[in-house]
């Protein structure tokens, strides 16, 4: 025992270990830092999970365009615990994105970015952007069909930048097309370059916590005054401060433990997303979608008006960075309590509502053609032969159903046509089909006269149940009197 003690004393004298421990783990924190303060450390814990599982995965993963897909298949289905490891890496990434989102919201609402913690906020902002970068490059390393096309999507967005766009795009592709050099490039960024920046930023972020102290929970009527704040904070710590370890850290550790358990359960029970088809440029049936944390951005790209698109693609990210950088620069003093900062609360609500709305839209992606739409069943069509039946077949085969739904079947790009027979006359329908319109192709040159008649007849028969019953006889008579060749009696 005595030898051990001497050994420790020698080690401590040569390294200063206990002094470092006292200055870091033992530093005083303000009282009443509750559960809202755990999300920074939770992000760090998720990052550690990423580093550990990432290194483990890298022992098998081969970052070559020819082999990556096969090595991932092997990790998923062949390697012992490979399925669990990939799952952990995926949900670890999800946790990082989620926690950093909550952490930045919490610090913004509590105005922790005010004097003297401006640099904490800015280094944290850098970390937020780096984490998004990791998420995107990580999804590409999955190197399946979706990853392959995602590279083009990234390059196309970079291509919208004025002047240097094309160069940037080809830099991302690492050549003229997605090829041998592309994946290795993303691998180097995902595994070396961005993590290096993250380690550095985390170092700075944590150093600043020690230098400036954890922000105390805000109180109404206690504005930050740069002239007096440091002295006031020191007095607070002297009066009521308690050592970070263990008085505050226990919550971080309890939460971190829960996070790890949840990650393990999710990784084991749900697992990482299955690989889609191989990254084969000649398989053109593909539906590229980003992972959930960028799904809202995918939706944004679909929904912005075309003429604003270039501005949003280029200026959107810049605006986002500005939004992160500005708060500590323009509002570093004054009230910190959210109840005295209605604009701050409104901005947070607006941000989250925007992201949530876009995210829900992204999941539904109503702007995409629904290639899986099945032909309308007989119960919907209401006929097994004749013009209405033929029209319903064309409604599917000519692609109308990819974008228009009838009685719950079909896509959502265009208007629902369940009761179009009540809204449009046959002439209006005909003109619309022939000439197209806002976001609808013109079918004039691809439909024969006969086909057009069938389609119009079918659409005219689309009426709500009630209307159909009351209006049927009179209206049908009129429609089919005008087009006698179609015959009547198939619309019920």
């Amino acid at each position: 025992m005595e030898t051990l003690r001497k050994l420790w004393l020698w080690f401590d004298d040569r390294t200063g270990a206990s002094a470092i421990w006292k200055a870091t783990a033992g530093h005083l924190v303000p009282p009443n830092t509750g559960w809202w303060y755990v999300f920074g450390s939770a992000t760090l814990v998720a990052f550690i999970v990423q580093v550990v599982t990432g290194i483990a995965l890298a022992t098998i993963y081969v970052p070559s365009t020819a082999d990556a897909y096969h090595t991932l298949q092997f990790i998923n289905h062949g390697a012992t615990l490979g399925h669990l490891l990939r799952g952990l890496h995926y949900f670890g990434a999800s946790a990082m994105v989620l926690f950093v989102g909550i952490h930045v919201t919490r610090t913004f609402l509590m105005a922790a970015y005010k004097y003297p913690r401006e640099m904490s906020w800015l280094s944290g902002s850098a970390l937020l952007l780096l984490i998004v970068g990791m998420g995107f490059t990580g999804q590409l390393l999955r190197w399946d069909q979706i990853a392959f096309w995602s590279v083009y999507i990234a390059a196309e967005q970079a291509g919208r930048v004025p002047l240097v766009g094309k160069t940037l795009a080809h830099f991302i592709l690492a050549g003229n097309t997605v090829g041998g050099a592309t994946l290795s490039r993303f691998y180097a960024f995902h595994v070396f370059f961005i993590p290096m920046l993250i380690f550095g930023s985390i170092g700075a972020h944590l150093y600043l916590v020690i230098r400036n102290g954890i922000s105390e929970p805000p109180q109404k009527g206690h504005p930050v005054d740069p002239k007096t704040y440091r002295r006031w904070y020191e007095d607070l710590l002297k009066r009521e401060g308690r050592p970070f370890w263990p008085d505050a850290v226990w919550r971080d550790i309890v939460f971190a433990a829960a996070v790890i358990v949840v990650l393990l359960v999710l990784a084991w029970a749900v697992g990482a997303p299955q690989l889609t088809k191989p990254p084969d440029p000649t398989i053109l049936v593909a539906e590229p979608r980003p992972d959930w944390y960028l799904l809202w951005y995918f939706a944004l790209l679909a929904l912005i008006p075309a003429r604003l698109e270039n501005y949003v693609i280029v200026l959107g990210p810049l605006f986002f960075v500005m939004f992160l950088v500005l708060p500590p620069l323009i509002a570093n003093k004054g009230e910190r309590s959210a109840s005295r900062r209605p604009w701050a609360v409104a901005m947070v609500l607006a941000c989250w509502m925007l992201i949530a709305t876009l995210w829900i839209q992204g999941r539904r992606s109503p702007w995409s053609p629904d290639f899986t739409a099945i032909p309308l069943p007989e119960t919907v069509v209401g006929a097994t032969s004749g013009p209405v039946y033929e029209g319903a077949q064309l409604f599917h085969s000519k692609g109308c159903e990819y974008c228009h739904s009838v009685s719950g079947y079909g896509g959502h790009r265009g208007p629902d046509l369940t009761d179009v027979g009540e809204r449009l006359t046959t002439d209006q329908t005909t003109i619309r089909i022939m000439n197209g319109g806002t976001n609808m192709p013109a079918f004039g040159s691809t439909l024969s006269g006969q086909e057009l008649n069938y389609l119009v007849t079918f659409l005219a028969s689309r009426k709500s149940q009630h209307a159909a019953e009351t209006m049927m006889s009179e209206r049908e008579h009129r429609i089919f009197a005008a087009k006698p060749m179609l015959g009547a009696g198939n619309t019920s």
């Binding site: 070559s64 365009t65 020819a66 082999d67 392959f148 096309w149 083009y152 999507i153 390059a155 196309e156 967005q157 291509g159 919208r160 766009g165 094309k166 160069t167 795009a169 080809h170 830099f171 592709l173 690492a174 050549g175 003229n176 097309t177 997605v178 090829g179 041998g180 050099a181 592309t182 191989p278 990254p279 084969d280 440029p281 000649t282 053109l284 049936v285 593909a286 539906e287 590229p288 995918f298 790209l301 679909a302 075309a306 698109e309 702007w367 995409s368 053609p369 290639f371 085969s397 000519k398 692609g399 990819y402 790009r413 197209g436 976001n439 609808m440 192709p441 013109a442 040159s445 691809t446």
Partner: protein, 179 residues
């Protein structure tokens, strides 16, 4: 904190003292160290950055690739054709292949369309029944001549050079179209 205070003290001392040979020497050493660091940073940085941007500088040859015999394509049809990149890296695997939509319009008139949507590069599908190209990502739609029919694409599908050479249809390998 103590480290910062020391530096501040030294700075104050340096600026208030009169120039002496000792201080001249210190100033020279300071400038020498900064300049040398800068020089080696450039010496290292130039080759590293040069290596990173080398794919941009590499001249990729463009080659005519045969995609099939003239008689394989029916008039009025649009079919997917595949061919190899002009100089794929040895480990490119599947990605050394490229696809295009080839349309035989009338007689010997062919048009080859890029498969990349002009919006954000997703692969468009040819829906033969609807006679439309459709993009699965954001709902871009094109007519059979490649013109925009609906959705967000800013312009029509990019065309690749195509020719007929001794009974074969050939496409010129081209860079990915960036809108």
């Amino acid at each position: 904190m103590s480290v910062n205070d020391e530096t501040a003290d030294t700075k104050a001392a340096v600026t208030t003292r009169k120039p002496t040979p000792e201080l001249d020497r210190r100033r020279f050493l300071n400038q020498l160290s900064l300049a040398l660091s800068g020089v080696v940073a450039v010496l290292l940085g130039v080759p590293v950055i040069g290596f990173l941007i080398s794919p941009l500088l590499r001249k990729v040859p463009r080659i005519w690739r045969s995609v099939g015999a003239l008689d394989d394509f029916k008039e009025g049809d649009i079919v997917e054709v595949t061919f190899e990149d002009s100089s794929a890296l040895p480990w490119a695997g599947l990605t050394q292949k490229t696809a295009a939509w080839l349309s035989r319009q009338q007689g010997d008139k062919f048009v080859a369309f890029s498969v990349n949507c002009s919006h954000l590069g997703c692969p468009v599908r040819w829906e033969a029944n609807a006679q439309l190209f459709m993009c699965p990502c954001h709902g871009g739609v094109y007519y059979k001549d490649g013109q925009v029919a609906a959705g967000p694409p800013p312009r029509g599908l990019t065309r690749y050079p195509v020719r007929i050479q001794s009974g074969n249809v050939e496409i010129l390998t081209s860079p990915a179209p960036i809108t």
